[in-house]
């Protein structure tokens, strides 16, 4: 579907802070090789981008995430699975400190981004590096172009003109696999798009500023199977220059897109490992039951 793409451009065109950690070259080959069915798995993962150490989150007295330790690597897709209410969304939102918007939410433990405690980072700077796609597509009530250009505009100190933005917007839309569908109606309202297109637009909006980590909270739960397939393929293509965390409670999806899988249950991280291991040889009884569909 989106085979003839330009290779990812790592030039920072807007005067945002450089987003590539020194010494990390984008792994070659990720993009071109993903034209096939859904997925290709790389043998070894890249360097560690985010590290969670004993992370717990409280809503008042309710402990929604309990002492979770994980690592998220560049060029790797981490799939978070677990029955609903087990704290997946909460965990994800904690990674770019969105939980701080919720009154009464408290966090313990440490999250490191490239070795720096995220609490020591200025919160907007953190969120520029760790972008998020939500469960419900939430394009802004603006045109398609303005949606994708939104973060580019807001993150630069001077407002870049449309001529500067246009190639960046096009690139983001291409990478999100939406360009061919919307190239003739960039000025149409984003809310007129179908659900699947809206979600891809939100992905384009999130990756337009080239974040380092992309968090996706059940991005396909509101979508039809075809849009889901398109987005899964997209994840496969994006992984080469991003670290991706995707929440899903669809086991097949986790298996298709995930390199690593983490299984959560009632706030606990029960098991974490390569996808093959979790699905084919789970260690814990709960994981075994869950991936076999005994409960969920």
């Amino acid at each position: 579907m989106i085979t003839e793409q330009p290779p990812p451009i790592r030039k920072i065109l807007v005067d945002a802070p450089p987003t590539v950690a020194p010494g990390i070259a984008p792994p070659a080959g990720g993009h071109a090789a993903t034209s096939g069915a859904a997925h290709h798995r790389r043998g070894e993962a890249g360097p560690e981008r985010m590290t969670l150490q004993g992370l717990s989150v409280f809503y008042g007295e309710n402990e929604a995430v309990k002492q979770v330790s994980l690592s998220i690597r560049l060029g790797e897709v981490l799939a978070l699975i677990g029955p609903s209410g087990c704290g997946k969304t909460t965990l994800l939102r904690t990674l770019n400190r969105l939980t701080e918007l919720t009154a009464g939410a408290q966090r313990g433990g440490t999250i490191l981004l490239d070795g720096t405690d995220v609490d020591a980072l200025e919160v907007t700077a953190l969120r520029r590096r760790v972008a998020m796609v939500f469960q419900q597509p939430n394009p802004f009530p603006m045109s398609i172009f303005d949606n994708v250009a939104y973060a580019l505009r807001e993150q630069s100190r001077k407002r870049p003109g449309r001529s500067v933005l246009a190639p960046l917007v096009e690139d983001a839309l291409r990478r999100a696999g939406l360009w061919d569908e919307v190239k003739d109606k960039l000025d149409a309202p984003a809310l007129r798009l179908s659900g699947g297109q809206q979600q891809r637009l939100c992905i384009a909006r999130a990756i337009a500023t080239r974040p380092e980590v992309l968090l996706m909270d059940e991005p396909c739960s509101a979508l039809d199977p075809r849009s889901t397939a398109v987005i899964e393929q997209l994840i496969g293509e994006l992984r080469s220059d991003l670290a991706i965390v995707i929440v899903t409670h669809n086991m097949q999806q986790a298996r298709r897109v995930g390199d690593k899988v983490a299984f959560m249950y009632l706030g606990d991280l029960v098991e974490y490992g390569p996808a093959e291991q979790i699905f084919d040889a789970p260690q814990a009884q709960r994981t075994r039951d869950y991936v076999r569909g005994v409960f969920g």
Binding site: N96, T124, R129, F140, Y150
Partner: protein, 328 residues
């Protein structure tokens, strides 16, 4: 009789009764337009549309009408109401512009930036300011602000420079606009705050998750999404300002004078005026004189149509935003 009332109503009868009561409201509006237009007719008959134009001293013209008695000659209907119309436009326009800016900033403060404790104070404060009757605003204006402006802001030099045109006493466009702004701001804040709270959380979180700071998220997404409500707020405030009679008759100086921007911004703001609504109150004592009566009803008709037009304008202004799926 009572017996029949106690019996359970049939649904059909209930629907008709309730519907009739509801439609009584429409009847009232029709009656209002008909009665007011009917009373206003003679003055338009004599003046045509030039009624609205500048020309002569409007206070003198009205005085002539008062003295004309029960059978006024046609010439006594002569009126050029421009200074009153201009006074209405000035007070309303300035108050709504300043009020809207102020209300937007205050609403954003309440919704986004105010610490919880301050928010718990400021919300009742808005309700309180909205509850204060206009006559109390007028009283404070005429007893506190007008003397202050008259004694400390207007200099002898100012008075002298326009001596032969108008007296400067302190009752002025400035005081009128300041108080009118305070009066209409609370309604606008109430509407804007509700609308900002109603902005879907996904939009705001979406913006914040892109690393946009709280002010920018508010300004670029929430305010944008709340535009229909903001327009509604401006329209409602405009209607309030347009119809404010009592307070303005107390603090505006009540002179049929059109403040002149070419006198320089300072004198312009210090000049007195009288809007249409205040003129109605003040001339309501002389309604036995047919010419006055017709003139006063013509003022009322003008206000009535302006407020109808405002409702319509507010409705139309919301339409283009529907295409973005913005809730109205």
């Amino acid at each position: 009789m009572l017996h029949r009332l106690r019996q359970p109503w049939s649904d059909r009868r209930a629907e008709l009764t309730l519907g009739a009561l509801a439609c009584a409201v429409l009847l009232v509006i029709v009656l209002m337009v008909v009665f007011v237009a009917n009373e206003a007719w003679p003055t338009f008959q004599h003046n045509g549309l030039r009624w609205l134009f500048p020309g002569g001293n409007v206070d003198t013209q009205i005085n002539t009408m008062v003295n004309a008695g029960a059978k006024p000659p046609a010439a006594d209907y002569h009126l050029r109401a421009w200074p009153l119309v201009w006074g209405t436009i000035l007070t309303t326009g300035l108050a709504v512009v300043f009020g809207l800016i102020f209300a937007l900033l205050a609403s954003i403060f309440i919704v986004e930036f105010a610490p919880d404790r301050l928010r718990a104070i400021i919300v009742p404060v808005v309700r309180l300011l909205a509850a204060v009757p206009s006559v109390i605003y007028g009283l404070l204006g005429i007893l506190v602000l007008v003397p202050f402006v008259g004694n400390h802001i207007i200099s002898a030099h100012d008075k002298k420079s326009v001596e032969f045109i108008v007296q400067l006493s302190g009752a002025s466009l400035l005081v009128a606009v300041v108080i009118l702004t305070v009066m209409i701001v609370p309604i606008m804040i109430a509407i804007c705050v509700d609308a900002l709270y109603a902005v879907p959380r996904g939009w705001k979180e979406g913006a914040v998750a892109l690393g946009v700071n709280r002010w920018r998220a508010m300004w670029t997404v929430s305010i944008r999404a709340a535009r229909p409500a903001i327009i509604a707020a401006a329209v409602l405030a405009c209607a309030r300002a347009l119809g404010e009679a009592i307070m303005l008759s107390m603090v505006s100086g009540s002179v049929g004078f059109a403040p002149n921007p070419f006198d320089g911004p300072r004198l312009f703001l210090l000049e007195p005026l009288r809007p249409l609504a205040s003129t109605i109150v003040e001339d309501s004592e002389s309604l036995q004189a047919p010419a006055v009566r017709s003139t006063v009803y013509a003022f009322a008709l003008l206000l009535l149509f302006s407020s109808l037009l405002l409702s319509l304008a507010g409705y139309l202004a919301k339409q283009p935003m529907k295409k973005y799926g913005v809730r109205s």
